[in-house]
């Protein structure tokens, strides 16, 4: 739980920078002395404290709740196995309200008040981008589970990492060969007219082109739209595949109206599970999706060939074979993304142990140790699958799943290779000063 340090908890101050008022500093210093003694002992035995920037409220709340559950399960597993470097791990949680301004304050709070070792867990791109400057200024490693391309774009700073989930550019690139080979060569994209949609707008056409397929129309839906039928006549008649990435509460209306527009004669449909995370695939109105395909980061439904690690991960997090909370079939998980929390915490463990991490004074060493990581083998620590890590762009690359909606469930029909999602680095964080 969150640290409840009081406003005037002077044991948390760093008075050395207050050279201008040395009198005050000296007086407070007397009160501080026991605190310093306690701190020096803490480095060897006290828990490693991980600041978890959670979307408990705001538009990311459904994700935030499952990110917390997954992270708590991972911390328990790590602690049960001896912790990190023999020290227990403790999550300190603060709600960022899925708001970038509050997100930056939360990062400051972790760094300066809670004095956590790292910050972790953010999903929504605008919160990551809004919080990244605070992480850089505080020189506190910031491990996000966002899937946005912003980390890999090298536009943030050296303290921001995304080692547990692939970025959207890589995901889109990985989908292209399967779409071109199995769904069709003429693709129409329907996407929300904001940044999430733009990633798909910009990265899919070149990826399909390389596979001998084409995007023949791109239909951007304004974010304020609540009815979609008027956009459907813009879909060219020769379309083989509709590639849709609508998100938010309007997605049910979108699917329902698309179904009414096409009836039983429709092109192939290919979507991203971001549209339906935490939403029951059997919700009324989604029948039209039967037989369509989706990208999934990690499968929502248990698969016949699930590895022992995948089964153990699902049991630890508490999701049943349908991807819902054990004991509450209506509480659908965000399975495609939340595995990233589990895997990121194991990357943190590995990097901290490699760095011989003792405390905040070793944060720079932790950054370098993380950058030195190359690959993560599939197993209990990485149940979604094997990954490679590019230390220059602070981004991992992994396999993706393509699932078909069959009988009200999602069945994995194809797994991509890591190589499918690799691209040329756009910069190099390691050239930035620590």
């Amino acid at each position: 739980m969150a640290d409840k340090n009081g406003f005037f908890d002077l044991s948390k101050t760093t008075l050395s920078r207050r050279t201008a008022l040395k009198g005050i500093a000296a007086g407070a210093g007397l009160a501080l002395a026991p605190g310093f003694v306690r701190y020096s002992q803490a480095q060897s035995s006290a828990p490693i404290r991980i600041g978890f920037q959670s979307h408990r409220t705001g538009i990311g709340a459904a994700y935030g709740r499952w990110y917390e559950k997954t992270s708590a399960a991972a911390v328990k597993a790590i602690n049960d196995a001896g912790g990190i470097g023999g020290r227990k791990v403790e999550l300190v949680i603060e709600d960022d309200g899925t708001d970038p301004a509050r997100g930056a304050e939360v990062v400051n709070k972790f760094a300066k008040q809670h004095k956590t070792d790292i910050v972790f867990g953010t999903l929504f791109s605008h919160v990551v981008i809004g919080s990244a400057p605070a992480a850089g200024e505080n020189k506190i490693p910031y491990f996000v589970v966002s899937e946005g391309h912003h980390v890999a774009s090298t536009k943030l700073n050296r303290y921001v990492f995304q080692p547990g989930i692939t970025d959207v550019k890589s995901q889109i690139q990985s989908m292209a060969p399967w779409i071109a080979a199995n769904a069709g060569k003429k693709v129409t994209q329907i996407f929300p007219d904001f940044a999430f949609g733009y990633d798909h707008r910009d990265y899919l056409p070149p990826a399909l082109k390389a596979q001998g397929a084409d995007v023949i129309a791109q239909i951007a839906i304004p974010p304020t739209e609540s009815s979609f039928t008027k956009y459907f006549p813009q879909i060219p008649a020769e379309t083989d595949v509709i590639y849709h990435v609508m998100v938010g509460p309007a997605v049910l209306t979108f699917v329902k109206e698309l179904g009414e527009f096409y009836g039983s004669q429709r092109p192939q449909l290919f979507g991203f599970m971001d549209s339906l995370e935490a939403v029951d695939i059997n919700s009324p109105g989604l029948e039209f999706l039967d037989g369509s395909h989706f990208w999934e980061g990690s499968p929502r439904y248990a698969q016949p060939d699930d590895s022992a690690a995948q089964k153990a991960y699902r049991a630890a997090v508490g999701i049943d074979d349908n991807g819902a909370a054990v004991g509450d079939p209506k509480d659908i998980s965000t399975a495609s993304h939340m595995f990233g929390c589990w895997e990121t915490l194991y990357v943190v463990k590995k990097a901290m142990e490699d760095a011989g991490y003792k405390g905040p004074e070793d944060r720079a060493k932790l950054v370098e140790a993380t950058e030195a990581l190359k690959e993560f083998a599939e197993g209990p620590e990485h149940p979604q699958g094997p990954k490679t890590f590019n230390g220059k762009i602070h981004q991992c690359f992994g396999i993706q799943n393509i699932s078909k909606v069959e009988g009200g469930k999602l069945k994995v029909v194809h797994k991509t290779k890591i190589e499918d999602g690799l691209y040329e680095p756009e910069g190099d964080y390691t050239k930035q000063a620590l």
Binding site: K12, T13, I129, A195, P223
Partner: protein
């Protein structure tokens, strides 16, 4: 309002500025950073208060003026490589020009219509930010890199990412705007604004050009809010469309209502109060907005004129 000697009034305000200066040296690190943010946003509230508190015009679109400053400063740094002072001026000019145009159009209305018109213009501004995502970063926003947030004057470098420099920069802006606001509301112009609020028809009959005075107030309010936005971009390094959303039009209204409309220090007190209620209660419950809401209701019930407004009404009638 009972009149007070200027010395007493200015002493109080300079005392507040001195207190904030001293706090830099004693506040714990986290609270030092939070106070810098609060002071920058209190400037936003002061700009809003000028129009709402003194002229009586309730706008639901002030997020566009804050964002005009935010983007005016942020985009010139990000795309044109401008220095911090030039970018700050660009932000303020953007806000003032936008306020001039919006004022010319929106002041044809009053009351509820003014609220709706300003809200609509703000929504247009918000959607324009999303539409021109190639330049603005859309809903994800842009980061102003640390290296771009350094002021170099005559061989001296001031790094705005340094906590003390940031705090002092926010304080400098806050102090300047507070003293300008104080001088403004004590001036003849300020008294005309209050007269417009109390009875616009009578003010017209007395020979004042109320439309021109209101337009000047809109431009001054927009420019102050833009100064806050520009400072926010440069001090905290992030420019995002959420700052142009309706939420950021309602927040300054809440800060001003809480602190006390038509009081010079109310915007600071309201912003401070809201920030700390949110910050402290969010550590205990995810329903912290409910607690904020209850606090607001209690305030409306027991101190409808806000914190400083109630203090003025009950004890210190000379407070400006």
């Amino acid at each position: 309002m009972r009149d007070a000697s200027p010395a007493k009034t200015y002493a109080l305000h300079i005392g507040v500025i001195a207190l904030l200066f001293a706090l830099n040296f004693v506040l714990p690190d986290y609270h030092q950073g939070l106070f810098a943010r609060i002071m920058a946003l209190a400037v936003f509230a002061m700009g809003y208060n000028l129009l709402f508190g003194y002229v009586g015009l309730l706008s639901l679109g002030h997020a566009m003026f804050f964002s005009a400053g935010l983007y005016g400063a942020g985009l010139t740094v990000h795309h044109l490589g401008w220095g911090v002072p030039q970018a700050f001026v660009a932000g303020v000019v953007c806000g003032a020009l936008l306020a001039l145009v919006i004022g010319l159009l929106a002041l044809r209305t009053s009351g509820v219509a003014f609220m709706i018109v300003t809200m609509m213009f703000a929504q247009v501004f918000y959607l324009l930010i999303l539409y021109f995502a190639a330049w603005t970063g859309g809903d994800q926003g842009l980061v102003i890199q640390q290296a771009s947030r350094v002021i170099s004057i005559g061989g001296i470098s001031l790094d705005l990412t340094d906590p003390t420099v940031r705090y002092m920069s926010a304080l400098a802006l806050f102090a300047v705007v507070l003293l300008i606001a104080l001088a403004l509301v004590r001036s003849r112009f300020g008294r005309v604004l209050v007269a417009i609020r109390e009875n616009e028809e009578r003010t017209k009959m007395l020979g004042y050009d109320t439309v021109a005075n209101k337009l000047i107030a809109v431009v001054a309010s927009g420019a102050i809010c833009a100064a806050s936005g520009a400072a926010y971009a440069l001090l905290f390094g992030y420019v995002g469309s959420n700052f142009a959303s309706i939420q950021y039009s309602i927040l300054p209204l809440l800060w001003v209502l809480l602190g006390g409309a038509a009081t010079t220090l109310g915007p600071l007190i309201g912003t401070l109060f809201m920030y700390y209620v949110t910050d402290i209660t969010s550590g205990f419950t995810s329903a912290y907005l409910l607690i904020v809401g209850v606090a607001l209701i209690l305030l409306v019930l027991f101190a409808p004129k806000g914190i400083m407004g109630s203090i003025r009404e009950r004890w210190l009638g000379w407070l400006p």
